[in-house]
């Protein structure tokens, strides 16, 4: 494959270039260190204040077991400084009073009445569903007699299932849109909720729910920045660094020299994209390793996140190749690359949570490719939510194909 020969050559050329190494790897790493230091406040754990109102009480007015367990779980993340709001108070007024005239961030989590019952019923229904499916699966291998007994049991189970209301335990979170950390707080609460759900459905005995087993990974602030920053640098490597390199290759006639050989331009484009992808995998690896060592982060990239990093690289490198098709000189390349990269970085929730942005900007962010890479990575690395990753991955994969094709079309293999 000639693309592979090109890949080897441009990679070698890149690895031996100090400035390339600096801008593509060292600079992102330095930035991570700076951001990491700011957001983790090295030494002390930054804590978010969170007011919790637990309305889920039993008949004697005591908080239910599961709602207590949930608050414990929130506590165990060590990210929150939790204060209670009395059950009979008006939550917002109470918090405003507490915070006083100086203010502070209003973050309220309300656990609704019936949280425990709803959760247990909901879980029971899911479990019945699972048993039902399992039995149906084995049906063909049973004797008639066994089948008769089973179908009787099943119909009883179905009746029971129908009698359980289809409910979801509800939590309400109230956040101030002006709060910079709103998205972070929400994501941490969400990850606890996910873990909690999983524990409930997967537990041996739902009723004998064991508080101690409710552990979620304890995420730090830096954890939340790692997927975003990784995504952001995959982007800048693609649309700033690669665009500049390709434009320089063009200016110096290296592309012309290669176009004089039987090499096809699609091989040229793919070779460069491969090089960039390898580089980004290295970068992501270094960033995450650094997170582990320096900031003690917990995020672990799974196969899905690696796949997404790969697809993201391909997409942004394709975009870089497409851009360089329109650019004449290196100065223009970095100007245009920056003009696209920086707004995209800020509008796709990399550094600031999207929730704090006005809604029209949130709409804009939906149109930005970076949003899907960083959201997908957050789903994969932090929320451990494969569905969320798949959707983003599908979008990224589609865009990757589109950009590579555009890149190959606009790359000039002929003079004018």
């Amino acid at each position: 494959m000639k693309a592979f020969t090109i890949f080897k050559a441009v990679t070698k050329n890149w690895i031996r270039s100090r400035s390339g190494l600096f801008f593509s790897i060292l600079f992102p790493v330095l930035l991570l260190l700076v951001f990491g230091a700011i957001f983790s406040g090295i030494g002390g754990t930054a804590q978010y204040s969170l007011f919790v109102q637990n309305l889920d009480t039993n008949t004697s007015g005591q908080p239910t077991e599961i709602s207590t367990a949930f608050i414990e779980a929130l506590n165990s993340t060590e990210t929150f400084a939790i204060s209670d709001i009395p059950a009979d108070a008006n939550a917002t007024e109470y918090v405003r009073d507490k915070l006083g005239p100086l203010g502070g961030n209003i973050r309220i989590l309300v656990i609704s009445k019936g949280f425990q019952d709803d959760l247990l019923n909901g879980t029971l229904k899911v479990r019945i569903g699972i048993i039902y499916d399992t039995v149906t699966y084995f049906e063909p291998y049973m004797t008639d007699k066994q089948n008769a007994a089973i179908s009787q049991g099943l119909s009883q189970m179905q009746q029971l299932n129908a009698s359980i209301p289809d409910t979801k335990a509800s939590l309400t979170i109230m956040l101030d849109p002006a709060d910079q950390s709103a998205a972070m707080v929400k994501s941490i609460v969400m990850s606890v909720v996910n873990a909690f759900n999983y524990e409930l459905i997967g537990a041996e005995n739902v009723v004998e729910f064991n508080e101690a087993s409710v552990t979620t990974k304890r995420y730090s602030n830096v954890d939340f920045y790692i997927p975003g920053i990784t995504a952001a640098f995959i982007m800048t490597n693609g649309i700033i660094a690669l665009t500049a390199t390709t434009t320089e290759f063009k200016r110096r006639g290296i592309i012309k020299r290669l176009s004089l050989t039987p090499l096809t331009k699609i091989d040229w484009v793919v070779g460069n994209v491969l090089c960039q992808t390898l580089l980004n995998l290295m970068l992501a690896g270094i960033m995450i390793a650094l997170g582990w060592v320096v900031f003690n982060v917990r995020v672990i990239p799974d196969a899905l996140s690696i796949a997404l990093i790969l697809l993201g690289s391909i997409m942004f490198s394709g975009m870089g190749m497409a851009l360089s098709g329109f650019i004449k000189d290196v100065e223009a390349a970095s100007a245009i690359g920056n003009a696209i990269a920086f707004p995209m970085m800020f509008l796709s929730g990399t550094y600031f949570p999207m929730e704090i942005m006005p809604s029209y900007l949130q709409t804009v962010s939906k149109a930005l490719p970076l949003t899907y890479v960083s959201e997908g990575l957050k789903h994969a690395m932090i929320y451990q939510n494969p569905e969320g990753t798949y959707i983003n991955m599908a979008i990224v994969a589609m865009l990757a194909v589109v950009f590579i094709i555009v890149g190959a079309i606009v790359t000039r293999w002929k003079e004018k």
Binding site: K2, A9, N13, R257, L258, L260, K416
Partner: protein, 311 residues
């Protein structure tokens, strides 16, 4: 006559208002060194790049080994068979000489042994040197090596010696002479008159997109240069004017020398007699005309070291 490797017929290239190549026709035969000689902006690179299939033409036809440069399926066949040194050749800075030549070689189905090519161009000492650390002359030699690595039958060299010091230039000349011995067809462009005269079997003088004259250096000289040239060192306008009245083939060169073209022996003695009559006591030199004289005759100017046309 050997069969044509390059056949160009009324080729035109228009850049907006500018007609850079203006209906030229010529052929290049197997195993010959063919030179395009012309000043900056004459249309040399444009023509060569059209033949290399990396620039579209406006009208006319161009065939390489019988393949059409404009037909996509033919382009592949052409690119397989040609080697090229583009004007202002460059390679990947951080790769070594060997790696760069190999990279180009790997773009073909098969290529010559890279070390052999390196030896051929006398680059052994620099085999593992990074491209960025080479002098201009060495870089150019790497470019020639890359043009040869696929063992092409036809090699385009676009101004292979421009900007090189005299020693590096002679080195490249030696390589081209060697290529001819190996039976390759070489298409060379240059703005150095002596280069064309020395290396080429046939020269096309190109100016403002048109071929002004074409033929072997000897043919061109015989046709346009005359038998001999009398050069009167440090002549003045007055003397030139006087001579001009008697002979129409008198010109002044940039050094202020008077040049008188002589077509036969009889004419020579007549001019000498006139000079004796006029008691011209200056240095008189008898020169054999060169391509430079041909060029002067055809275009009314000369090409400077920088490639500019000077009237």
């Amino acid at each position: 006559m050997a069969k044509p490797v390059v056949e160009v017929d009324t080729l035109v290239k228009q850049y907006g208002q500018l007609r850079a190549v203006d209906g030229i026709s010529f052929k290049v035969h197997e195993e010959e060194v063919f030179a395009f000689l012309g000043p900056n902006g004459a249309g040399k690179t444009t023509t060569v790049e059209i033949l290399e299939c990396i620039r579209p033409l406006t009208s006319g036809t161009a065939r390489i080994f019988g393949y059409e440069v404009t037909r996509n399926s033919d382009v592949v066949e052409i690119k397989r068979r040609i080697g090229a040194l583009p004007q202002e050749f460059s390679a990947l800075d951080k790769l070594t000489v060997k790696e760069n030549i190999e990279l180009i070689g790997d773009m073909y189905e098969k290529h010559l042994d890279v070390m052999e090519i390196i030896k051929l161009l006398d680059l052994e000492d620099k085999t593992n040197e990074k491209f960025e650390n080479l002098s201009g002359g060495l870089k150019q030699r790497v470019g020639v090596a890359a043009a040869l690595v696929s063992d092409p039958q036809l090699i385009f060299l676009d101004e292979p010696t421009t900007g090189l010091d005299p020693k590096a230039r002679r080195d490249v000349w030696a390589v081209i002479t060697n290529l001819k011995k190996l039976g390759k067809t070489v298409f060379l462009t240059t703005h150095y008159m002596e280069e064309a005269q020395m290396l080429a079997d046939r020269v096309a003088i190109i100016n403002k997109g048109k071929i002004a004259a074409i033929g072997s250096p000897q043919e061109l000289i015989a046709q346009y240069g005359g038998l001999k040239i009398l050069k009167i060192r440090g002549g003045d306008e007055a003397l030139a004017g006087l001579l001009q009245k008697k002979y129409d083939k008198v010109s002044l060169n940039s050094n202020g020398d008077i040049l008188v073209k002589i077509d036969d022996a009889e004419e020579f003695w007549r001019v000498m007699a006139t000079l004796t009559d006029m008691k011209v006591g200056r240095d008189i030199e008898i020169q054999t005309p060169t391509i430079e004289d041909v060029f002067l005759k055809i275009t009314g100017g000369i090409i400077t070291e920088e490639g500019e046309l000077k009237q």
